[in-house]
């Protein structure tokens, strides 16, 4: 796995650093998505908050992770299993937020539906977030 992590960083032309490895490992070991705050907690005090902000930013730009919109001002991030390229995600799956355990999942098998928009509107991306009770909590 460690190998894998370094591969991912290198193939995205990123320096391999302890912080990036650790954050990436968090995403890979994790079934759910992570908010900035979650990561901060899991990283302990060895890493600066600013580093985490910047790492999440480059990971997102590179297409290593993607963002999940939320209504609670806590954007979540999740690893892109599809092979996304820099600046162009193609994660067409939907997301699920459990209101009991508060976890956010990528439902990789559920594809974003086609949606017919009114004339004049042109969608580049469609995000679907379902809220309810997840598998583990029901």
């Amino acid at each position: 796995m460690k190998r894998n992590i370094q591969e991912i960083l290198k193939s995205n032309r990123l320096s391999v650093t302890a912080g990036r490895e650790k954050i990436l490992r968090l995403f890979l070991e994790q079934s759910g998505a992570l908010a900035h705050g979650d990561i901060e907690k899991k990283m302990g005090s060895n890493f600066d908050r600013v580093t985490i902000y910047r790492t999440l930013q480059v990971f997102t730009e590179k297409g290593i992770i993607h963002t999940i919109p939320s209504a609670d001002n806590a954007v979540r991030y999740a690893f892109c299993k599809d092979n996304c390229e820099e600046g162009h995600h193609h994660d067409h799956h939907i997301h699920f937020m459990c209101s009991r355990c508060k976890k956010t999942y990528c439902l990789d098998d559920v594809v974003t539906p086609d949606i017919r928009l009114p004339k004049g509107y042109n969608a580049a991306q469609i995000e679907v977030v379902a809220t309810g009770i997840c598998k583990n909590c029901s």
Copy 2:
């Protein structure tokens, strides 16, 4: 319209105050959705930030407005045209965020699609947010 605004407040068992009237008017006069920050700017300095927070909270609880999730840590709010009841929204429309003009619209005529979730997942709500170029910008 003024009448209308007071009606809305009263029918939700809320005291009619200058701040609530003004915020509600903003939503009614507005085609797009508003983030807390937008409202703060439009309200000028006559109203306290805290009042705006609390007003948005009660309006949301009462079902007068609904939240729109976002990936930029700036939750938007919009007036509920459907007659939502306290604690139970039924706004089954989707939202559109224009990446050019940055406005967020409720596409009232576009209904949230039915989505088949994996076994065990039970959705209480499904949010769809499309991003792209809106009618006015295209």
